[in-house]
Subunit: 212 residues, 2 copies
Amino acid sequence: MRLAELSERSGVSTATIKYYLREGLLPQGERITATKSEYGEEHLRRLRLVRALIQVGRMPVATARQVLEAAEDESLSENTRMGAAVWALPHGPEPDEGDPVTASAREQVDTLLERLEWRHCQELGDVAPAYRMLVSAVATLDRLGYPHETGHLQLHARLAAELAVADLDLVETYTPQERIEAVVALTVLYEPVLLSLRRLAETEESHRRFDD
Amino acid sequence: MRLAELSERSGVSTATIKYYLREGLLPQGERITATKSEYGEEHLRRLRLVRALIQVGRMPVATARQVLEAAEDESLSENTRMGAAVWALPHGPEPDEGDPVTASAREQVDTLLERLEWRHCQELGDVAPAYRMLVSAVATLDRLGYPHETGHLQLHARLAAELAVADLDLVETYTPQERIEAVVALTVLYEPVLLSLRRLAETEESHRRFDD
DNA sequence: TGAGTTAGATAGTGCCACTCTCCAAGGGAA
DNA sequence: TTCCCTTGGAGAGTGGCACTATCTAACTCA
């Protein structure tokens, strides 16, 4: 397939495809002549993944490139690649280290991990982007005076653990090669699913309680 | 307190505070003279909320204004205001209506709502932004060939329902006046909490399964 | 009295995700 | 063979956004 067809089938303009090629988000097609390249189904698939990461996952182009680069780094083992790709996902503002509220949020999070017995996360601690994201979010709740006790976070953590089991079950149905892309795609694409279901569930529950 | 103190206590530059005042995100202070205004604790609190919505909730300034405007529209009942504020929250790209994949995603979502017996959401259907967000996310999963059967979504929905019950329990501890801001703040600020916990739980579960 | 602060207005900045324009090189149809 | 369309490649331009800087006139306080 040539550029025009790739554009038509993906719904992405040729100009934007060229931009992604330049930025290294999409591998070059197979060069036929100096002015012609052939693209395959894998290019179409990759292009759709890139668009999903950027539009649904609201990810900056540079971040998407880093994620995909990490996912394909042949010099790393599969486990390492998977970790690197997930760690490169966007994770919001870094916690403000100078702030005492951040320090207390960190304690809160550490207590939570202790109670949950998430030993691996405890070992990783501050290194994991998701840990810092959590600290930052808890600190913000604190600053606004909204509750964030360990007990309350524990409910969310328990549900997150249930999700993780289901997600990993699903990931295990893929071959090791497919697995890395699957983890990235499922992590990113199930986030809006979960958030929209939460909002819908809140609408429903709110209606039951207040609107009758 | 004057502008300089508001700036210092919030950590937001005076230039940015002026910008927020202009954009209507922050109410004007009480005018003392032509060149001096007095700001109170409620300004500080509001400023912190605005920053949280924009930085943690990754919300555009214009969206934050709409959310806050809706939350404070005296012409509406409390229930309507709450609904309007939550509906103004960002919800990603709209589903591509021309696409057959979107149509099948919509069926999928409708089946889910039917099975869950979320009657209120069924009635609202396409009008609810969260519904369209879900359709769009499911369509994207479909396009990339990742699973999104009703059964699989149901697990997420069940957990979302549990969250909604806990969230609404919490909301009920607030007075009706505080409630609207509480719903907005808790909806937005618990999203990163949930997402980071999911990623941490996946890390932990992945370690248990593959790294031992 | 003069240095500093403030409200208010306007213009400018830096980043980002495209988007446009050109050029030289093919390639397909008349 | 000629003419027009498409392509790869590269660079410049665009529009939106969230600030940020500058300026002026009014006012305050030491």
